[in-house]
């Protein structure tokens, strides 16, 4: 496996890291050079500063992230000051015109922010409630616990496109099993894909798919809570509910802080679930959240500049949300 080891037995450990690095990356010819230079001077290998290898090993990862995440985000900022067509080679600098236009666009931009907030907060709150309840249940000891822990992660494993199609089938107006069951239970029919309910449907389906993320995060922490704390609370006469509020919840606070932040940010920028269930036209009008609006502007109306401006606005909103969230949390902690 190691190209250099038999021929260069005198190479010192750091030199081998070099050959290790070369053999495992795709580009083999360029980094081979330093080894050859080191070979006649084995004692110098020892003096190669450690940080050199640290940077070298990190280089591929950092380069990819810089080139394919950070650069696109900066490029997007630059594009947002331009009028640019998706296919035609049209590109003109127009300053803040894109931003002015979208801020004045009540039916497009502001409506999508409003719908996005409903979707983002609605689905996050439901996920936290459901995920935390499930984690508490799975932390008890009962028959079939190991199996249930697996089952709880099932929804997360179903690919989004399958979730969308499967839910369209289960909730189908004519042949779906859930409308049928609800009819027979006397709850009555709901038009799940009608204009009144489609947002609720999308929120519920998203909750079903993503709540396991909350289970994974909180269950890991629940298992590390010292049982002594519960015994002590029991001795003091605290019931189940008080034990939850005064023992479990404070212990979970840090994990929940991260989980809520991540979930809100991911749900606010969620595209595929909504798009796959409702699409762009027709019923999609009632679930046109900010990510959908951005996608339509860019790839539907082919206005890349305006789409980039929308991305930047979404990014700004996330930053503002995170700042406010951190501030509230810090204040809470001081009390």
């Amino acid at each position: 496996m190691l190209l250099g080891s038999p021929q260069l037995p005198f190479l010192l450990p750091y030199g081998f890291i070099g050959s290790f690095y070369m053999n495992t990356t795709v580009t083999t010819d360029v980094p081979r050079m330093p080894t050859r230079q080191e070979a006649p001077l084995p004692s110098r290998g020892r003096r190669i500063p450690e940080h050199y290898w640290g940077y070298l090993l990190l280089a591929p990862a950092v380069a990819m992230v810089l080139a394919l995440i950070l650069y696109p985000v900066i490029y997007s900022g630059w594009l947002s000051f331009h009028f640019k067509h998706a296919y035609l080679p049209l590109q003109t600098f127009i300053g803040l015109e894109n931003y002015r236009e979208l801020l004045l666009d009540g039916d497009g931009f502001w409506r999508s922010v409003y719908l996005g907030a409903i979707y983002g907060f609605g689905s996050t709150i439901l996920q936290i409630i459901l995920g935390l309840s499930a984690a508490l249940m799975l932390n008890e000891s009962f028959f079939g616990k190991a199996l249930m822990r697996g089952v709880a992660l099932f929804p997360y494993m179903v690919p989004t496109v399958v979730v969308a199609i499967l839910m369209k089938w289960i909730l189908n107006d004519a042949y779906g099993i859930l409308p049928y069951v609800m009819d027979n239970l006397g709850i009555g029919r709901i038009l799940w894909f009608g204009s009144d309910w489609v947002m609720v449907t999308v929120i519920l389906v998203s909750t079903w798919t993503f709540f396991p993320f909350v289970v994974i995060g909180t269950l890991a922490r629940l298992q590390t809570i010292d049982p002594e704390l519960y015994s002590a609370a029991k001795v003091d006469g605290a019931g189940v509910i008080r034990r939850f509020w005064h023992v479990t919840l404070p212990q979970l606070a840090n994990v929940l802080f991260v989980v809520i932040l991540l979930r809100t940010m991911f749900m606010f920028t969620k595209f595929d679930v909504i798009w796959l269930i409702t699409g762009s036209g027709g019923i999609g009008f009632y679930t046109k959240t900010l990510p959908i609006h951005t996608f339509m502007k860019t790839f539907g109306e082919l206005q890349v500049g305006a789409g980039a401006a929308l991305s930047m606005m979404m990014f700004l909103m996330l930053v503002v949300f995170a700042l406010i969230y951190f501030k509230l949390y810090k204040r809470d902690e001081h009390i």
Binding site: L2, P13, Y14, F16, F20, Y21, T24, E50, H51, G54, L57, L58, P60, A61, M64, V65, L68, I69, L70, Y71, P72, V73, Y75, S76, L79, M137, E140, F142, M148, R149, V151, A152, L153, F154, P155, M157, P159, T160, V161, V162, I165, W169, I170, Y175, I177, Y180, W208, L219, A220, F266, T269, F271, P291, T294, F295, T298, V304, S311, F315, L318
Partner: protein
């Protein structure tokens, strides 16, 4: 006596809760499988038939014979596997570098990488598309592999870092004293010890690539380049929906991932747990 009865009742209600939860998580998948093996006559009925007595696999046969499903399947496997392998190599190198060497800016690089995990795909997709178009990577598998590898890298590196940190340096040094070279020590000692982490990273990356709709939609348009999410959705939108066939497709897309997942679930949970706490 009364206290015992109360205890039994609370136990029973707890198990009813567990059963309801199991049904909530598992029923949609059971229904998908049942629909996929039912004849059309039993699928399209106002009163749903739970179990049909003429089950058959026609829907699966139609899926592979009459559509390009197999092409999409092979594309998805190729892209997801390549992205996973590439991520493991690059993330292992980076995590090893960051845990075993001291250098200026180490913590900033680690933190900065994790920060990029916050950039949601929808924020990047517009400029990413233009970037790929400029480099002629539209309608290629390489474009998709690059996209998925990059998105998985920050989290993967962070996760592996927490695993590498928990492995004592002594073990590595002991192996090297015994005559192993440093790379040998890494491959034979460190990677096996961090195996749950490597597994968690592979699953994470594979799922990212297997599930993604947005980037595949934007970066590919040719039929022979489509991955499963695109292919499935286009099949759904193409004609009058053949529910039996769509459900068969759903089973084929979901079951391999599910079986794979059940087999390595233990590693996954310990890995994700560690990542969730330390990350």
């Amino acid at each position: 006596m009364n206290a015992r009865l109360k205890k039994i009742l609370s136990r029973i209600s707890f198990y009813i809760g567990v059963a309801t939860f199991a049904l909530f998580c598992g029923f949609p998948m059971i229904w998908m499988v049942l629909t996929s093996i039912k004849p059309d006559g039993d699928i399209l009925r106002a009163t749903p038939v739970f179990w049909s007595w003429d089950t058959h696999l026609d829907h699966y046969r139609n899926l592979f014979d009459q559509t390009d499903f197999l092409i999409y399947f092979v594309n998805s496997i190729t892209v997801a596997t390549s992205a996973t392998l590439l991520t493991i190599v690059i993330a292992t190198l980076a995590a090893y570098g960051i845990t075993r060497f001291r250098f200026t800016g180490r913590e900033y690089i680690a933190g900065g990488m994790l920060f990029t995990y916050m950039f949601a795909p929808i924020l990047i997709v517009v400029p990413f598309y233009i970037l790929m178009k400029n480099y002629g990577l539209i309608n290629t598998k390489l474009g998709l592999v690059l996209a998925y590898t990059t998105f998985s890298l920050p989290f993967s590196m962070w996760l592996l870092r927490s695993f590498f940190q928990s492995i004592p340096l002594d073990l590595e040094e002991a192996a090297m004293t015994d005559g192993a070279s440093r790379p040998q020590a890494v491959v034979r000692v460190i990677v096996p010890l961090a195996f749950p982490g490597v597994i968690a990273v592979s699953i994470f990356t594979f799922i990212v690539a297997w599930n993604d709709y947005l980037f595949a939609r934007v970066l590919t348009s040719a039929n022979d380049m489509k991955t499963l999410p695109i292919g499935m959705n286009d099949l759904y939108n193409a004609t009058i929906t053949d529910w039996g066939m769509m459900m068969a497709g759903g089973v084929v897309v979901t079951v391999p991932a599910l079986v794979f997942f059940i087999m390595i679930q233990r590693y996954l949970i310990s890995g994700w747990g560690a990542g969730a706490i330390k990350g």
